[in-house]
């Protein structure tokens, strides 16, 4: 109750300002008159009575002010005044204000932008129930395939025999063709074992999950839609469950729709999820690996225990099935590691870069504030002399800091909204498919929270900076002449800040330099093919019409023929196992015939290719011959190997004419007819493995990739290629049409390297600029402080050259310390980059040397102007100034 009364009184004081003031005036007038009357009654003259009364009061206005203080009015007044004064002060020096606000906005914007990505990828949990209990499950083939596919029979055994997993399920990424009244639509999808969604802990928002046993061969053909596919293909109709769709010519009943935020990066952006229904030769063959596993750990069981469990099962299977399971181990990894493992190091580097930039920006602004406070020494002394308390001066600094930070944070936050959009748009379609958690990335409250935290820290720093720069005793000592003779504090503290800035800039530059170098190395890695004027496009023919070898061979021949007849086309070939750089993991187990064999096998990537494949790619034949159109199933089996294969398995002999075969006791012989120079079939940053090429016509497929070389603009060729395929059969789907250049630029490894290099480089560039501004500030300020000293030196005969050198030496000392400290820190920091570097060591001497030189030259330039100004000081004027 009392509190309420006090609040009421306070509010009255604040809001009924005039009445309070009137009351105060009248109260004092009344008092004075009574006092005067009494004094007159005591025998004084009117004049005397009046002055005695006033004297007794001791300063009318001061008393009133004290009364206002007591009412708490002044606190509010002071705040309003402080803000007004702060804004006026800031407007009085627009260059300072603009620089400070822009620097802050820049630092806050960059750190918030990168944080948005870090949050989406690394902080936000994956959209599954208890995602940290989920594992990816793989077979392991040492040394080259630590995370390989499972076969269906192996999966069934693992599932049955393990004692550590609450559930184990498998999935396989697949493309489907949906046919309907609107024609054929290619859909992305996956087939999964029945418990897949239960393992993830996902329940459909419409309809139902797959039943247990719905993945068996005989079960009804059903499909679950993703939210996006439901919206796009079915207009979000609520009655979609129960409808029938035709996928790959097979009618299927829609039984469910998945939640909107569901994504499963290992299969990219899927539209449809089908129960597995093992069928065909591959699914039942133990040596045909085409599935990936996902498992949920039993409560209280760790990933290591699960791994040990699966490894022992794999060992037992190896004994039981030596012909298929030799060397087939087991491996697990946290699902989050599989999904975000690739991007994590990039993001960590970027967030570190962004925060370093923010650090430099705030330090720079703090430095500027320090300088300002020193320059304001006189103003402050004046205010103290006029009665301002230290508390009032401090609160003035805090207000100024808050105004600056508020402006900077608002600008930075607003700009981050835009830069986040910009960065997301820079991600290619392909990258978003791989990282669906970045889709729809936008501004959220977490970012505002981060901005608040940064602002509070920055404001605290800025409020402290000027008070550190002040020499309180001198201020309180009054307006002594020559109070600005030496800027001691700033020169000591400020120069330390500049060293910190320069060192940070060096660290960022070193990171950017190394990343740029590895990007360059990556993009200029030997490809073994000529990437210009080359396009690739995938062709997927429905199994129903093209499953027979003769059908798919005829299709391939027809497509290649028509492609060759397109204007500008110089050659056209195909591969049934994807384009170069495409990560395709099809392998074969082989042995070299004519050598003693004890059951060991060699597993190598295999590509089924048409005769013109190498010609179209622009690969180099090292020996023997290419395939010919006649190399079909009626002819002896032939193969081409790459240089790496020859080096590894035929180190001392000519491989041409040698025979290889399947890793069985009595294989059909395959004769090696050619050796080709290494073509980069896998990722840019991987070693080129031994690769085996076999003629497409000896093992044709309904899915193949065209490689077409043209003399014209390659991009314009893609629609024409889709066109001829559609002309042949509208049910055939074409997809992923790309130029080879685009494929290289957009390959995940290039993308990772490029985004890391570009962003770090822009952070480093900004950091360099800010650090130089800081250095310039320190030197310029030092010169202005030493004008008198310089004047005396010159009056005593110092040449301007000497003065010039003196200033440059001061700058050189700071820059030297900063660069050295930076190089030491960079050496430590860059070893953390090791994972991201390609073809360059973290302690690359030439990069470090180049950065040291760059920094030194830039520092020299930054300090040149103030040094010149010092050298041109007129001693007479300098001395008169004081």
């Amino acid at each position: 109750m009392r509190l309420a009364a006090i609040v009421r009184l306070r509010l009255r004081s604040v809001f009924r300002r005039t009445q309070v003031e009137d009351d105060l005036d009248e109260e004092f007038r009344d008092h004075l008159e009574r006092e005067i009357n009494q004094n007159i009654a005591a025998g004084m003259s009117r004049e005397e009575a009046r002055s005695t009364a006033l004297r007794a009061m001791g300063g009318l206005e001061q008393r009133k002010e004290e009364c206002r203080d007591m009412r708490g009015l002044n606190q509010l007044d002071h705040m309003v005044n402080d803000i007004r004064f702060a804004i006026r002060q800031l407007r009085k020096s627009p260059e300072f204000t603009l620089t400070a606000v822009l620097m802050l906005a820049l630092g806050i914007c960059s750190s918030i932008t990168i944080f948005a990505f870090v949050d989406a990828a690394l902080i936000k949990p994956l959209p599954y129930r208890n995602p940290d209990r989920l594992l990816g499950v793989f077979e392991r083939i040492d040394p080259w395939c630590p995370r390989c596919n499972l076969s269906w029979p192996d999966y069934l055994d693992w599932k049955k025999q393990n004692s550590t997993l609450a559930s184990l399920d498998v999935f396989q990424q697949r493309g489907y063709t949906m046919t309907g009244s609107a024609g054929a639509t290619p859909l992305h999808g996956a087939r999964v074992s029945d418990g897949f969604f239960r393992t993830l802990g996902i329940a459909p928002i419409l309809g139902r999950d797959f039943y247990a046993g719905e993945d068996q061969s005989g079960a009804a053909r059903t499909v679950i839609l993703t939210y996006a596919a439901w919206q796009r293909q079915f207009g979000g109709q609520p009655n979609v469950v129960g409808q029938t769709v035709v996928l790959d010519r097979m009618p299927r009943v829609i039984v469910g729709v998945l939640p909107k935020d569901f994504h499963f990066a290992p299969v990219g952006l899927a539209d449809v999820w089908l129960p597995l229904h093992p069928e065909g030769e591959c699914d039942f063959r133990r040596s045909c690996h085409d599935l990936y596993g996902v498992a949920r750990l039993k409560d209280g069981v760790g990933a290591e225990a699960a791994l040990a469990n699966l490894v022992s099962i794999a060992k037992a299977l190896e004994k039981l099935h030596p012909d298929t399971n030799r060397n087939q181990g087991a491996n697990v990894a946290a699902l989050s590691e599989i999904i975000v493992g690739d991007i994590r190091p990039v993001l960590l580097v970027l967030i570190a870069g962004a925060f370093l930039l923010l650090l430099i920006a705030t330090v720079d602004v703090a430095g500027l504030l320090l300088v300002r406070s020193e320059n304001r020494q006189r103003e402050l002394a004046l205010r103290v002399a006029l009665g301002a308390s230290s508390g009032r001066l401090l609160s003035q600094f805090v207000t100024e800091a808050l105004v600056l930070v508020l402006a900077g944070a608002t600008m930075g936050l607003a700009a981050s909204h835009w830069t986040i959009q910009l960065l997301t748009r820079l991600l290619s379609e392909d990258m978003l498919t791989r990282m669906p958690f970045l889709i729809g990335l936008g501004w959220n409250w977490k970012l505002a929270g981060l901005a608040c935290v940064i602002s509070v820290l920055a404001a605290a720093m800025f409020a402290m900076a000027p008070s550190l720069g002040l020499r309180w005793p001198e201020i309180h000592g009054g307006l002594r002449e020559g109070a600005r003779a030496s800027g001691g504090v700033w020169r000591k503290l400020g120069s330390k800040l500049v060293v910190l800035e320069l060192a940070t800039a060096v660290v960022l530059l070193a990171g950017a330099g190394l990343l740029t170098e590895s990007l360059y190395n990556l993009l200029h890695v030997k490809l073994g093919l000529a990437p210009d004027h080359l396009v690739t496009i995938d062709v997927a023919a429905p199994n129903a019409s093209y499953a027979k070898a003769a059908q798919s061979m005829a299709l391939a021949r027809k497509v290649l023929e028509r492609a060759r007849n397109l204007p500008g086309v110089r050659s056209a070939g195909l591969s049934a196992d994807g384009a170069p750089l495409s990560h395709n993991g099809n392998t074969n187990w082989i042995r070299v015939l004519g050598r003693p064999w004890n059951g060991e096998h060699i597993e190598v990537p295999q590509r089924e290719i048409s005769p013109a494949y190498f010609g179209a790619l622009g690969a180099q034949l090292a020996g023997g011959r290419y395939f010919e159109a006649g190399d079909d199933s009626s002819k002896p089996q032939v193969a081409i190997i790459n240089r790496a294969f020859a080096r590894k398995y035929f180190p001392y002999e000519n491989p041409i004419g040698k025979q290889i075969g399947q890793a069985t006791a009595t294989p059909a012989p395959v004769e090696i007819v050619g050796v080709v120079e290494d073509v980069r079939e896998g990722p840019l940053d991987d070693e080129i493995p031994p690769v085996l090429y076999r003629p497409y016509n000896q093992d044709p497929d309904t899915y193949f990739t065209l490689m077409v070389r043209t003399s014209q603009d390659p991009g314009s060729l893609l629609p024409a290629l889709s066109g001829i395929v559609r002309e042949i059969d509208p049910e055939i789907v074409t997809m992923r049409g790309m130029t080879m250049r685009g494929r290289i630029e957009q390959s995940p490894s290039a993308y990772m390297h490029r985004s890391a290099a570009w962003l770090t480089a822009s952070f480093a560039g900004l950091a360099l600029l800010l650090a130089l501004v800081g250095l310039y500030g320190v030197i310029a300020y030092s010169v202005s402080q030493r004008t008198r000293e310089i004047g005396i030196r010159m009056a005593l005969g110092a040449e301007s050259r000497v003065v010039h050198q003196m200033i440059l030496a001061e700058a050189a000392r700071l820059a030297g310390i900063g660069i050295t400290a930076g190089l030491v820190c960079a050496a430590l920091a860059c070893s953390l980059l090791r994972k991201l570097l390609f073809g360059v060591s973290p302690w690359d001497l030439s990069t470090m040397a180049a950065i040291a030189v760059l920094m030194a030259v830039a520092s020299l330039i930054a300090s040149f102007i103030p040094a010149r100004r010092a050298a041109s000081v007129n001693p007479v004027e300098a001395l008169r100034m004081e």
């Binding site: 009184l9 009248e26 009364c67 708490g72």
Partner: protein, 109 residues
């Protein structure tokens, strides 16, 4: 800010409350009563009185209202509130404790 001289800090509040406990009064009257009651020992600067009054009012211990005084002049009268009465009791007790303690020390020495 000037502090009332010759007064132990905080005692001015107590004295004002004590005077107002007898009857409501305006500022000038309070100043005079202070001097009379203490036999001119306590020379409270008249200026220090008003800030103290305003502070007590903000505390909610006294209430101010304009009223017509004895000589038909308008004056701002201060009245003790319930909270003020309680505060007066507390402050008096505190003062007595302090005074006893100081007296004891002074006598002992």
């Amino acid at each position: 800010m000037s502090k009332p001289t010759g007064l132990v800090q905080g005692t001015l509040d107590l004295l004002i409350l004590k005077i107002l406990a007898l009857e409501p009064a305006h500022g000038w009257a309070i100043a005079h009563r202070l001097r009379q009651m203490s036999g001119d020992v306590l020379q409270v600067g008249q200026g220090a009185l008003y800030p103290a009054l305003h502070k007590l009012e903000q505390h909610g211990w006294i209430r101010a209202a304009w009223a017509v005084s004895d000589n038909h002049r308008r004056a701002r009268y201060y009245t003790l509130t319930k909270a003020g009465r309680k505060a007066l009791a507390d402050e008096s007790a505190g003062w007595e404790r302090l005074a006893t303690a100081i007296t004891a020390i002074v006598k002992a020495v």
